[in-house]
Amino acid sequence: MNRPWTRFAPQAVAGLGPRRPRRACATWRLLGWALVGAVAGTLALAGAGVFVARAADPIKIGLGIALTGGLSANGKPALMAIQIWKDDVNKKGGLLGRPVELISYDDQTNPATVPGIYTKLLEVDKVDFVISGYGTNLIAPLMPIAMERKLTIMGILGLANNEKYKYPNYFQIQPSGPDPEANWATGFFEIAAKQNPKPQTIALVGADAEYPRHAIAGARELVKKFGFKTVYDKSYPPSTVDYTPIARAIKAVNPDIVFVASYPPDSVGMVRASHEVGLQPKIFGGGMVGLQFTTVMTSLGPMLNGIVNYDFWAPEQTMMFPGIKEFFAEYQKRAKEAGVDPLGYYLPPYAYSAAQILGLAIEGSKSLDQHKVADYIRSNEFSTIVGKVRFGANGEWAKSRVLQVQYQGVKGSDVEQFRVPGKKVVLYPDEFKSGNVIYPYSAAQK
């Protein structure tokens, strides 16, 4: 009986029908093993390929930084410094044998952009580590994100960002020390208190903004500690145009010390206004941001003489750490083309050092694990281009190294004079001291 449908019976299709001859079976077995071998070989090769690709994959480091907006004058040089570090590291073979890739976005000096930027860096760009943006206001919105994801953060010049959070994996490169608010101006007050006759009264003035508020809060504590009497304590909006009424109001109470905590435009405004109204305390300065910038220094010129102000680096012999000269040579070459601060003594070496410490910790811990890297940073001292750095419990420098410098003998507006020692004399701390204070303020202006 012809049963054509039996050809399509399940057994036939599955090969489970009548037994095949022994030779055919052996061929099938051989083919099967060949297939298994081929698959295994392919997988092994693919695996090796993946391994090779991973080893060549870059370690990604991401950050949002101010390239436009109010803080861009510092944000751009900071990014340039970190790019120099990346190039230096890659020239030496990268980290853990892998090249380093830097991914950055402009935060527009707008704290509202920070969560979005870092979410993109982590979720889309899949960065391995993050560095903060520049400045206290831009670090603040990053803190909750970092804490939630348990990230290690290297902060660039934030003041007291971790005081409330006490987040263990936060590290900050500004040398403010373990008590940032108080340490910030300690040197200024110590210098003032050592003078003879000792100044008695003080005026505190600062902008209504994050950094000046912290700096003034710290200064108030130091006023109590050193026994000065406050005769003026006021703040002003950052958009103030004319500072002569403020300088005149301070002059009216005749303080021995004027402590100013300001951002660059107000620093310039306060210095000019003080000269115009003849405000001549015995010691003037303290916490003025901007006087460290080359364009501001050259524009104010001799008006700077006598001002005692915080700083982070000066071209004095006491500050020549290994690698710093090479860094400035490269930075100053790139700065000319980018139209940013031509000397770059203030922020760039610290931005470089922040990345340098992160790199040293990745190499030292031989890991990309956030906790292991953070542990390594916490428990080691690092040799950087800004000197030896060790972090304390709150992620700040274990020991403060905020310098107090005095501008001395500045003549005209020539930029070259600021490249050599003697114009920004380091007065504090003693370890880095390069000269003596000229006191009172008016004596340095002659």
Binding site: L67, T68, G69, G70, S72, A73, G75, K76, T109, D208, K234, S235, Y236, P237, S239, T240, V241, D242, T244, P245, I246, R248, A249, A252, V253, P264, P265, V268, G269, R272, A273, H275, E276, V277, G278, G290, F293, T294, T295, V296, S299, M303, A338, G339, V340, D341, S413
Partner: protein, 290 residues
């Protein structure tokens, strides 16, 4: 802390500041007050003028204010060109309200970013013989850095007032602000008149920029500090009133200065805008508005 000496100094400093505010606000008074064009980019043109003064000062040692005056024809042409684009793209189609506003916002950002790309984001300052010097007149100190911009601001106000009240084109600008159809019936072309007026507004902004960089350092984003202030002054003075703009500027300048001297500078802006709200509650059209 009160003394008559301090009061006199505060009032004089406020008047000097007011003169400068008037210079910065005149262009807005012309474009927004008379032409009804919400030129949000006005402060960006001020900064553009400031950078022009900086370039000429740093490269050729030219006085910043002299540079500002010399470059006014260039900025006039730039302003006229911007208005033509605005007119062709928005005003002619009756889409000037919201889209026009977006246009000027875009222009503001383009200028800001363009300056950042070209000159970087470092603080820019100028040097001039009068910066950092002052004169004492019977116990009242006057800083030349503020006196010179104030005098130039007053001259600009006077010149604009005379232009609008005494010249054919000036009267035509006033006519445009009142009744464009009537102006057209008189045989004048409102678009041409508005082009001239807008060009003058931008030229005034550029000169104000030269004054600004004489007073304080600038970065491309400095314009944002002035957006609120210039529109507040224009509204307080009364839309389209050049004299009103000067008076409003001086009122705000003196208020800021008095607050900074006697009560704490952090209140100065709040009090200035409080005055604006109070004035508008009593006179909704502004101090000299119709």
């Amino acid at each position: 802390m009160f003394s008559w000496d301090l009061l006199a100094n505060a009032v004089v400093a406020g008047m000097l500041l007011g003169g400068f505010y008037a210079a910065v606000s005149l262009g807005v008074s012309l474009t927004f007050g008379l032409l009804d064009i919400v030129n949000i980019a006005h402060p960006a043109f001020v900064i553009l003028g400031a950078y022009a003064a900086y370039v000429m000062n740093s490269s050729y040692g030219l006085d910043p204010i002299l540079t500002g005056v010399l470059l006014t024809p260039v900025f006039y042409g730039l302003g006229a060109g911007v208005y033509r684009i605005y007119y062709a793209s928005f005003e002619r189609r009756g889409e000037e309200s919201l889209r026009g506003l977006v246009f000027f916002f875009g222009l503001l950002f383009i200028i800001e970013v363009g300056l950042s790309l070209k000159y970087g984001v470092d603080y820019r300052l100028v040097e001039a013989a009068y910066i950092g010097r002052s004169i004492d007149l019977g116990g009242v100190g006057i800083a030349f850095r503020l006196l010179v911009p104030c005098v130039v601001g007053l001259l600009m106000t006077l010149a604009l007032h005379l232009f609008l009240s005494r010249t054919f084109y000036g009267r035509a600008v006033m006519g445009v602000s009142q009744d464009q159809v009537a102006l057209r019936l008189m045989g004048a072309n409102p678009v041409r008149i508005k082009t001239i007026a807008f060009g003058i507004g931008i030229a005034a902004a550029s000169l104000a920029g030269a004054l600004l960089i004489t007073i304080s350092p600038v970065v491309p984003s400095t314009d944002r500090d002035y957006i609120g202030r210039v529109f507040a002054i224009t509204v307080l003075g009364g839309l389209g009133s050049i004299g009103g703009t000067l008076v409003a500027s001086i009122i705000l300048g003196i208020a800021e200065s008095l607050m900074a001297t006697f009560f704490g500078p952090s209140w100065s802006l709040a009090v200035s805008f409080g005055i604006l709200l109070l004035a508008l509650a009593v006179r909704p059209a502004g101090l000299f508005g119709r």
